[in-house]
Amino acid sequence: MENKLKNSFADYFDQFRELGLLVFIVTLSIIVQIRNPSFLTGENINDLLKNTAILSILAVGMMLVLVTRGIDLSIASNMAFSGMLASLLVRDFPQIPTILILLIGLGTGTFFGFINGLLISKGRLLPIIATLGMMYVLRGSTFLISKGKWVSAYQFTDSFKAMATGSVFGINNLILIAAAVYLIAYYFINHTGTGRRIYATGSNPESAKISGINTDRMIILSYSIMGLLSGLTGVLWMARFASAQSDSAMGYEMNVIAACVLGGVSMGGGSGKVGGIFLGALLFGILNNTLPLINISPFWQNALQGAVILLAVIANVLAKRQVTKKNLNRRIK
């Protein structure tokens, strides 16, 4: 009996975060809808999702990295570098098929993610230091390969831009790509052995090693996936804004980390759900999208984001303490 009670409570708490987040999003949406009925229109929702797509794709990779107890600060510069490389190729060799360009972008991103993973697992660097270094290197290299010049809208081929602006059945490509990434991620995380081993590695690295999991390989894999998604979103970013600059996406890594934390991914590793980060990214998107709709200056955006994240992590700690306390109360009669 007592065990059952304990289980249900723990399960309840496990669901609590996503549920709380969902309730918060719904409440927020209703309030915004009352103040401005144009919020929940098809067009605006399409817009909102389109704007959230890149953030939510990156959140998948960041979640995996955070699950292994790491962090990746280099993603925004990796995006800029991979995107810039692709853009330069489009500018200088417009005859290359777009799909090949995309693959080159993906490959570049993956390569640098792989290097991050290698430095962190085999080189035993702290993730924050290794990826900080990588961030500098890639941001500088972006400038070098572009020689400080922009690639502008007219220099892109139409098919390149169409990757982000085109649509299928009225749904923007970015949304479709994000949906595909989420489906694959969900399958990978929940239904493949490798996916679960990444979680095991983060949940308890020591015993993962003892039970024969190649933890180094799991870490390298996570950072490589992060790199792959950075390469993907880098190319999409350039296509979407039809402009490649050496400071593209500067500082975007913090948004991604924040979306993950909002979505309930623990910085301590081992836990994080696809559904959670989707909601986290969505909340971020809504905060950005709705401020103008309800006549709040967009300059409030940052402060609101910061405050929401801070409150979310603190609320989480308080809830967890409550659970611990309840459990302790039961221990000695």
Binding site: G193, R197, A200, S207, S211, N327, I332
Partner: protein
């Protein structure tokens, strides 16, 4: 057919600087429960890791069913049907019970997709055979240690393990939980025909379960006996390597005024209604099973985790102790159980370690006075007889016993009236052990009041003037030196509450 399901011959394993195993041999018969004993640091854990393929030995051979095998990693040993349940449960707290059971050998559909349905079903079945009442979708982190251990056993079963190693499984369990584990273990042997290596410090565990025992000491193989044929005393001699009585140089000293009195001290979830008093010159023992709340009581007295309610009366005045700083200002010192994690800065020299708690005392204002510091440290270094090149030698370069002496010196550097010692001789060699006991006796003679936590029965009986026993968060007995016997203590620790003595 072979006599032995598993045989290890002349295993030697070397780590930088030490030989962790030196020419160790071992035989396991099919369907037996074989106890492995030895003091902390004797090499048991390393030995287990050799069997499970975590370590590759430099020399020696491993035979499985008479065939010579070589494990290149834990995977190999798993495939061979060897599973281990470690001392510290090695689970994944963020994953479900089913995942913990099946990690590394997941069930899949032909498409290689994970077959969760089947994994949950089989896990629930395993849990049912082990008669537990939680289900396979529970998060591992929400289970108690005993429940987690049972999950580990389920995991071993799910891997069709023929050889199961249990590394101190009962260390953190209550009596009832231990019996549950005995039942499961016997069931493993009788129903599943598994061969089991059982490591434990508790003699009753062994005599209850095992048929044979192998003893290791200082990385060496000492011997293997049928349990029917060897007495507990002889086993102790085998483990310790010499007669036990000389280990306890207890001196008779006058016991004077009461210095510390604790009334109804409680901390939610850890201990409740603890009351006792302590007098100058007295050595008060605090014993009971691991997990009974002994350490937690002392941590509250020292202010690491203050108690929720109850009174602490120190030197006649009621005090609230909010932090270790306050406790030390009053004159209460604490020697923590885990000296490497809680007691020492391994990377620092002996001198800097010794002066850390009372840095301000050796400084001129806020300025560090290294000369003064070294002088004080040197004096204590000699007093506790640390064996090291100099007082500047790094703590990490010393043996366990000498490291413990540094932590003792740290206490002596402070102006104390009450000294709390938490398992002061755990994992130290015999020589250092008797040295630490001698220091304790001396301190009592100088009027210090000593509260010692110990799980070692002979140490408690040999050193203490009075003995408190805790059981599941409560004080279950208070025994004077004269009335205390091993049986009474065990009974109070495991079975029932005895009305306080006097």
């Amino acid at each position: 057919m072979n006599d032995y399901i598993l045989e290890l011959k002349n295993i030697t394993k070397v780590f930088p600087g030490i030989k962790a195993l030196d020419d160790v041999s071992f035989q396991l018969k099919p369907g037996e429960i074989h106890a492995l004993m030895g003091e902390n640091g004797a090499g048991k854990s390393t030995f287990i890791k050799v069997i499970t393929g975590v370590y590759t030995p430099e020399q020696g051979e491993i035979y499985l069913d008479g065939e010579r095998v070589k494990f290149h990693g834990p995977k190999d040993a798993q495939t061979a049907g060897i599973a281990a349940i470690y001392q510290h449960v090695t689970c994944y707290p963020d994953l479900t019970v089913a995942e913990n059971i099946f990690i590394g050998h997941e069930l899949r559909y032909p498409s290689r997709r994970l077959n969760w349905k089947e994994m949950y079903r089989q896990s629930d079945e395993l849990l049912k055979t082990l008669s537990v009442d939680f289900n396979s979708k529970t998060l591992m982190g929400s289970l108690s240690v005993a429940q987690q251990q049972i999950v580990e056993i389920a995991k071993a079963l799910s891997m069709k393990a023929r050889i199961i190693i249990m590394d101190e499984p009962t260390a953190a369990l209550t009596k009832r939980e231990s019996e549950e584990l005995y039942r499961v273990t016997q069931q493993l042997r009788d129903k599943e025909k598994a061969s089991i290596i059982f490591i434990s410090h508790r003699f009753e565990d062994m005599y209850k379960l095992a048929s044979r025992v192998t003893v290791l000491r200082d990385s060496h193989y000492i011997g293997c006996w049928d349990l029917d044929a060897i007495s507990q005393d002889d086993l102790i001699v085998a483990m310790v390597g010499r007669e036990v009585s000389s280990l306890y140089p207890k001196k008779e000293v006058p016991i004077t005024d009461e210095i510390l009195k604790v009334e109804n001290l409680s901390r939610t979830g850890y201990f409740k209604d603890i009351s006792f008093s302590l007098r100058k010159g007295e050595i008060l023992g605090l014993t009971g099973l691991v997990g009974a709340g002994r350490t937690e009581v002392c941590e509250s007295l020292f202010g690491v985790h203050p108690a929720d309610s109850g009174k602490i009366i120190f030197d006649g005045k009621e005090r609230s102790i909010e932090s270790p700083g306050t406790a030390m200002d009053l004159g209460i010192g604490y020697l923590p159980e885990d000296r490497q994690l809680q007691g020492l800065i391994l990377d620092w020299g002996i001198d800097k370690n010794i002066t850390l708690p009372r840095l301000d005392k050796f400084a001129s204002g806020v300025w560090i006075n290294e000369k003064n510091e070294t002088e004080v440290a040197q004096k204590l270094f000699e007093q506790v007889m640390i064996k090291a090149q100099s007082v500047h030698a790094k703590a990490s370069s010393l043996s366990g016993g000498n490291q413990q002496k540094i932590v003792v010196a740290k206490l002596l550097a402070t102006d104390l009236k009450v000294i709390i010692l938490d398992e002061p001789t755990k994992g130290v060699d015999v020589g250092a052990k008797s040295a630490i006991h001698e220091i304790m006796s001396d301190l009592a003679g100088h009027g210090y009041a000593i509260l010692m936590i110990s799980s070692e029965m002979s140490e408690v009986l040999g050193m203490c003037d009075r003995i408190l026993v805790m059981k599941e968060g409560y004080l279950s007995a208070e025994l004077s030196r004269e009335e205390a016997t091993q049986e009474k203590i065990l009974e109070a620790a495991m079975v029932k509450t005895i009305k306080a003595g006097n």
